[in-house]
């Protein structure tokens, strides 16, 4: 039972990080969104595994919520949004793909180093995986900074959020339910808002140049 729990946790959490790295690797925006969906599913799997292991109903519900929200709804919304421009690809990221991957590697090592202290407070099967969560956050943020497409930006944002979620599950088996609920709704709303903005701005100009606009500056 315990080994199964551990390996399930390892696999699912690893998948979350792997998905994050994959988003850096691939160029097609739709592919990236799909990878995000996979990550959402893995994240919910982490929550569910933890919930089953700790008999935590609140976390179970949370896992379900995440499954629906981050596994299905948000990727779905983003897929719809990316349909505005079906051929859209990350053709010219600010940091090119090979360099991004190297950077991702560096970030992963870094997060391993920095998470040691957090883990050491309460070493357990779950908390030792915190580096994966931290790495997801950093890789997600990296994606957010370096990718040009609007959808990619949103994906980066969700990656960061997923990473934080992962850290939260691993460290504390989730924050109090009400907080979890609120934050999930917030994330959803943010995505909705961003999608709305994409659509509205798309009406004014080419979606492609959405994130390149520099009308407001000093």
């Amino acid at each position: 039972m315990n080994t199964a729990y551990v390996s399930a946790l390892d696999v699912t959490a690893g998948l979350v990080l792997f998905a994050a790295v994959m988003t850096l690797w691939r160029r097609g925006v739709r592919t990236i969104v799909s990878i995000l969906g996979v990550q959402g599913l893995s994240l919910s799997a982490v929550a569910l595994v933890l919930a089953i292991h700790e008999h935590d109903t609140a976390l179970l519900v949370t896992g379900g919520l995440v499954l629906v929200l981050k596994g299905i709804v948000i990727p779905g919304l983003l897929l719809r949004a990316s349909r505005l421009d079906p051929k859209s690809r990350e053709t010219r990221p600010l940091v090119n793909v090979p360099a991004s991957l190297v950077a991702a590697a560096v970030l992963i090592v870094l997060s391993y180093v920095v998470s040691a202290r957090i883990t050491s407070l309460a070493p357990s099967d779950a908390t030792r995986l915190v580096p994966l969560g931290m790495a997801t956050i950093l890789v997600g943020y990296f994606m957010l900074v370096t990718r040009r497409r609007a959808v990619s930006k949103i994906v980066g944002l969700i990656l960061v959020d997923n990473g934080i979620g992962l850290v939260a599950y691993l460290l504390t088996s989730g924050v109090p339910f009400i907080v979890e609920l609120g934050s999930s709704i917030d994330v959803l709303l943010v995505v909705v808002v961003l999608q709305f903005l994409m659509v509205s701005m798309g009406r004014h100009s080419d979606v492609d140049v959405l994130t390149e606009r520099r009308e407001l500056r000093d």
């Binding site: 997060s111 920095v114 202290r117 957090i118 950093l138 943020y141 900074v145 520099r214 009308e215 000093d218």
Partner: protein
């Protein structure tokens, strides 16, 4: 203190009246209340100076976190006297002066706030109260400068200069005062004075330097003076009068209060610095005053000059006190304070007079004035007497105070330490240099501006200004006469204030009487007797002339070197009057001159017109301030590149921050 509170309430009432009453009665009512308030505080302060008592008031109901503290000691009382005196005159003057934008609700109200703030500054006795009053004084004067900015483009940039420099000064003072209080249990001046000796020498010096920078800038000390010759001329005249007489004095007050009273004197270096500022200011101010042809600008530079002299006195007092010559120190301090009071009166009168001239003629350019002595007799007498006072004509106030200053400096020579002697020597030299230059400046101001023939239509058609303006300015001649003729009557009051400024040990270096007589040394003046002698001789001469010559002089044309007609344009102008001196000091003043000649079409040997342009920029401004502004502006322009509008970059800022956080803390 009750009377002060009455006075302050009257001032506040005046401000409210100015803000609320309808246009017709606004100015007279507000001015009457303001003048009454000033009069009350003037009388109360004189009374308290005579009694020599110290009163404290504290209330926690005002000013959050600190409460308001007011303390009346002789030093404060003297400055209350000074500012209330000018306040009364300025309020009276305002009745005749205010019209158009300067009679608007806000202008009248803010004027009253300014008058009020001026008399609260010396009373305030904790950091927050002091800075509150100080900044209120700055703000109200700033707003008053721009009251008629719509008509005066120059006022706008002057106000900006003033605002920036006064705020930089205030920041410096705040920091200095806070440093003074860093070991104190509270922030009241009593606490600071009690605990300042426990501060480290470095902190004390840092605090003093900071405070000095701020106060010296307010006092217009070179090189922190740049705002003064811009702002004082551009303000409406009653405001200029208040600024140039009462407000600048508060700078000196601050130096004395903090350096002498709160920090107990400190080291000799401080006071050498004060004296050095004074010496430079005196000479620089006097030089520029001689060459200025704008009447109010001339007055502003002469303010720098007199403030310099006063700082020399304060610096000398500090230096002497440091080397243990308490009596001589008191003498120098008394001289500085007496000079301030005298200056407040005559400079106030001069600015008010200049305002009357501007009102009557529409210009304050001396090159376009002339002959006002015929059309504006009252103003002419006021300006003549006050100019006499500033030139230190014996029997007027400038003379007695400068004499006292000279005595203070002279007796400092008996000390043997080098810094003392150097300060005394250079102080005397500065005093001597400025004496002659001031005379040139004011002979020019009065001789060109008021004598001769009018040089413009405005001057020709001028009329004497309203009675209120006349009375207001004439009121300030009175102190010049009193301080000049019977200085002995007030000198004991000044003595008390000087004692407070030097740490409270009472000495009486000047014995009281009608004139001034040093009690320990040989030196005395009897201005009243001197005036008696002068008048006596003149009466004898007049009688003799009457018996010998004809009673009436015959009016004839002036000698025109053969020309029949004398036109006003043939007269010397202010610019040409000062030209020789300007040439002598060209290296310091760096005048820019150019002559445009338009030749006649027929022949190049004949000139159709000839224009002479001449400008004296402030060297300090051009060489020291402009480059700094340039650098700051460049920083601003460069910084704008930071926010280039790219969301990628903005996100990267956050990413870097995140990396730094995790790397540093994990």
């Amino acid at each position: 203190m009750t009377w002060y509170l009455v006075a302050l309430s009257l001032g506040a009432l005046a401000a409210i009246a100015g803000a609320t009453l309808p246009r017709r009665v606004r100015v007279p009512v507000a001015a009457a209340l303001g003048a009454l308030g000033c009069a009350v505080s003037l009388v109360a302060a004189v009374g308290d100076l005579i009694d020599g008592r110290t009163i404290l008031v504290h209330s926690d109901r005002l000013l959050p976190f600190s409460g308001v503290s007011l303390t009346l000691d002789p030093l404060a009382a003297l400055f209350v006297v000074l500012s209330s005196l000018v306040g009364v005159a300025a309020c009276l003057y305002l009745v005749g002066y205010a019209h158009g934008p300067s009679a608007s609700r806000s202008a009248v109200s803010i004027f009253m706030v300014f008058v009020l703030a001026l008399s609260v500054v010396p009373l305030a006795s904790n950091i927050v109260s002091f800075m509150f009053a100080w900044e209120l004084m700055a703000l109200s004067s700033l707003l008053l400068i721009v009251t008629d900015q719509a008509q005066r483009p120059k006022a706008r940039s002057a106000a900006l200069w003033y605002a920036a420099m006064t705020q930089a000064g205030a920041v410096s003072i705040t920091l200095g005062l806070l440093l003074c209080a860093s070991r104190a249990p509270g922030q009241s001046f009593v606490d600071i004075a009690a605990s300042s000796s426990t501060l480290s020498a470095t902190t004390r010096t840092a605090a003093f330097v900071l405070v000095l920078l701020g106060f010296a800038s307010k006092a217009g000390a070179v090189p922190l003076h740049v705002w003064l010759p811009k702002a004082h001329p551009e303000a409406p005249s009653p405001v200029s009068a208040l600024m140039s007489s009462a407000m600048v004095s508060m700078g000196v007050y601050g130096i004395v209060r903090v350096g002498g009273d709160l920090l107990h004197g400190g080291t000799v270096g401080w006071w050498v610095a004060v004296a050095a500022l004074g010496i430079v200011s005196a000479v620089y101010g006097a030089l520029h005053a001689t060459t200025a042809s704008d009447f109010k600008r001339l007055l502003a530079f002469s303010t720098i000059d007199i403030m310099g002299l006063s700082l020399i006195g304060v610096g000398a007092a500090g230096v002497l006190e440091d080397s243990g010559m308490h009596a001589d120190a008191t003498l120098a301090m008394m001289a500085a304070l007496l000079l301030l009071v005298a200056h407040a009166a005559f400079k106030g009168a001069l600015f008010l007079g200049a305002g009357s001239v501007e009102r009557a003629t529409g210009t304050r350019n001396l090159d376009r004035l002339g002959g006002l002595v015929h059309t504006m007799p009252t103003t002419s007498v006021v300006v003549a007497l006050s100019a006499g006072a500033i030139m230190a004509v014996p029997t007027l106030s400038g003379f007695s105070s400068e004499w006292l200053l000279l005595q203070g400096l002279l007796h400092g020579f008996t000390d043997t330490s080098t810094p003392v002697v150097i300060v005394m020597l250079l102080g005397v030299v500065a005093l001597a240099l400025t004496g002659g230059l001031t005379a040139v400046a004011f002979v020019k101001a009065f001789g060109i501006g008021f004598l001769g023939q009018p040089r413009s239509a405005g001057a020709r058609d001028s009329r004497e200004v309203s009675r209120w303006m006349g009375w207001g300015s004439a009121l300030l001649v009175l102190p010049s006469l009193v301080l000049g003729l019977v200085p002995g009557l007030v000198v004991s009051l000044i003595n008390r204030a000087a004692d407070t400024g030097l740490g409270g040990v009472a000495t009486t270096p000047v014995s009281t009487g009608a004139g001034l007589a040093l009690s320990q040394l040989r030196g005395a003046i009897e201005p009243a007797a001197l005036l008696g002698a002068l008048v006596g001789v003149m009466v004898v001469l007049a009688l003799a002339a009457r018996t010998l010559g004809q009673r009436r002089a015959r009016r004839v044309d002036a000698w025109g070197c053969g020309r029949e007609e004398q036109t006003p344009r043939m007269q010397y102008t202010a610019t040409s009057f000062a030209e020789p001196l300007q040439r002598v000091f060209a290296d310091v003043l760096r005048p820019q001159m150019d002559v445009e000649v338009t030749h006649a079409v027929e022949s190049r040997y004949f000139q159709q017109s000839l224009t002479y342009h001449h400008r004296i920029a402030d060297v300090v401004e051009v060489r020291a301030y402009r480059p700094v502004f340039g650098v700051v502006h460049r920083v601003g322009v460069l910084a704008r590149r930071l926010q280039n509008g790219s969301i990628h970059r903005y996100l990267a800022f956050g990413f870097v921050a995140l990396l730094v956080v995790v790397v540093v803390l994990a």
